[in-house]
Symmetry: C2
Subunit: 398 residues, 2 copies
């Protein structure tokens, strides 16, 4: 299994493009199109927020048959809380794209991210779709990744190659992260492609498993967006069908690696982030406890400000683990930070504080929590909490 | 029912004191004592964090019989994550206090707040207890309120008088808020007194009800401390026994008012706070939904930074309501902010933005969320999220 520079066009048979259609006032790229030369099995995972954007509803509906052939995404406007007009606009985005590509509207999956509560500028969007369709290219994945950015400071993309059945198959993906622009909130979008052939039901099950341990373990501020969407399309262009257990396992690992890589890119680019933080929970009795503890610690403002301040503050870590709701015996918990044991047997472990502060100056910080109660584990990914987070989120509109 | 300036010594038969015993390096007051001339019915509500401080365990044990006569509290050290030594120290605090006051140790309730993971300086604490005991005074409530402060900028205290059975009874209280000093976390402590006579079981039930709608509805950053404690003692000195339903109702209202007043004082003094925020949820189908939505919005970093930035950002409010987990139909939800309707019928309500920004310059900000689904409601209290929160929590120890 090799991780290579790449994006959604790395797998065979996919084309993409990204352009500045004029939706963003900044003039930056704001419209992305992904297209497969042949119909794909497709699956999606969507936000659990009760408030959902129009394109989320439409994607869910278009994926009912497990098939799709194109994805059209705009940034700069989330098409959320836009009422009936929003649904009509999302449908129109799919219809115009289908017309431009010679597809059925049901095989186009629309996505949006950006300001919420403002109707899409449909004249601009429609013109953009007609403009981008002829620009599709087998090397257009990089431009597509740029076109879905909002407050992201870097595009997020990667590809993975793995040998299955004696042949090389490729998985590619792009994502945008938890950047928030008022009056918007962080939206996580990710579009994944692969050239294996796979039944939609299996694809969906594998995607869900991968998302649980990657995107669902990333937190920047605990706010769950209205637009979160992960889509995976498999077009079979490699000639490899993934069906038997051993192949499925190979593909599962590659898909996990792909989503984990993109998820980490998102956490690393969190708003105002100066550090990338991994919270590794081990020896949990059940997976759910590991996840609950890891996300509770990764979401704690107190832990995140301490890391920004290079403060080896085991008390805040233990506190966040304690209130997470997971089963936990403080006397069995061991905590270490940047490889320095700081808590064990219900009491602090003495450590060299100046040395710990120095270790915390690194860009990457690892927090390890051993619950001493079983064999399940998981990692959560986040960033530290700096002045710039407050600045970005407080000062945008006033 | 009258709210009056006062504290734990406002009810008859209670004495208190607060001194600088030398636990805090700053030389500020750090030891408080509350004493009732006669034995009291007593009840407590404690942190749900799985990691609990030693004095929390001891209070729970000493309250098993529903009786107490004194409270001893130190600030500057939380006596948490201090292992067996911590339990021994908490027991010693109670024993030394009991000896100085001529009580049984089981009738003394200890409390601690401050740095965690550091053993109590017991020589200093014991000397302090012997010094403070003879200083108990019927006007000592103010000093006691000062002595439990950590990063609080003002002491929190109030008293309420109400007529029951033709006589005036008094309830008094003090609290400390969600101020956090590294390596510590915010601890909410509150000690309440009253001169009515009441059975411990009834007292406990009324206290729990009051806490649910006051302290449990206050959030500064969503982190639940290891030391949170609310104690209520009733000594009967007014000669009024609260037993029949009508009297219980009068007392319940007064107790609710007392705890709500103190809870709001805590939110108003949140770390780095520039604004006091009330999130009022109405028309919920069930109380649990109202509470879940109110706390989700009050805990949202995005909502709190928007309020700091005077940004009428209904999108963030609706988003936080949506991911709260409560039942919610976005098309029935109405949101207003500082009395300006901003969202209804699934779409934004146009409003005068400069006027809204001006209204958001007020010290007190009200967010109203009508779920359009029933008749239950609740309020949550919080503060905005400013640069100073990050500063206080990132820069203390490094």
């Amino acid at each position: 299994m090799n991780t290579i520079p790449g994006s959604v066009t790395s797998p065979q048979g996919f084309k993409a493009a990204g352009i500045a259609a004029g939706i963003k006032a900044s003039g930056n790229k704001d419209l992305a199109l992904i297209f497969s030369e042949t119909p794909c099995s497709a699956a999606g995972v969507f936000t659990l927020n009760r408030v959902k954007a129009a394109p989320v509803f439409l994607c869910q509906s278009h994926l009912a048959d497990g098939r799709a052939q194109a994805v059209v995404v705009n940034s700069g406007n989330a098409n959320c809380c836009t009422g009936d007009q929003g649904m009509a606009d999302a449908r129109r985005m799919a219809a115009v794209t289908a017309e431009a590509l010679g597809l059925k509207a049901e095989d186009v999956l629309p996505g949006s991210t950006g300001v919420i509560g403002v109707p899409l500028p449909m004249a601009v969007v429609e013109k953009g779709i007609r403009q981008i369709a002829p620009m599709l290219s087998p090397t257009g994945g990089d431009e597509a990744a740029e076109a879905i950015m909002t407050t992201d400071t870097v595009p997020k993309k990667v590809a993975i190659q793995v040998q299955i059945g004696g042949k090389t198959v490729t998985l590619g993906g792009m994502a945008k992260g938890a950047g928030m622009i008022a009056p918007n909130m962080g939206t996580m979008l990710s579009f994944l492609t692969t050239d294996v052939k796979m039944e939609p039901e299996l694809l969906k099950s594998l995607l869900k498993g991968a998302v649980d341990r990657s995107y669902n373990m990333v937190t920047v501020d605990g706010d769950t967006s209205t637009n979160d969407t992960v889509i995976l399309m498999a077009n079979g262009a490699s000639g490899v069908e993934v069906k038997v257990a051993a192949d499925v396992e190979l593909f599962r690992k590659a898909l996990s690696e792909l989503t984990l890589d993109l998820a980490k890119q998102i956490a690393r680019d969190g708003e105002g982030a100066t550090k990338f933080v991994t919270v590794r929970v081990t020896s949990a009795r059940v997976f759910a406890d590991a996840k609950t503890v890891a996300l509770s610690v990764a979401n704690s403002n107190l832990v995140k400000t301490a890391i920004f301040g290079r403060d080896p503050n085991w008390g805040r870590i233990l506190c966040a683990a304690g209130y997470s709701g997971a089963e936990l015996d403080p006397n069995r918990v061991r905590v270490s930070m940047v490889d320095i044991p700081i808590f064990a047997n219900g009491t602090p472990v003495p450590f060299d504080k100046p040395k710990a502060i120095e270790a915390l100056s690194a860009r990457d910080v690892l927090i390890e929590i051993d619950l001493g109660d079983g064999s399940e584990g998981v990692e959560a990914y986040t960033c530290d909490f700096s002045y710039d987070y407050v600045k970005i989120n407080a000062e945008y509109t006033t």
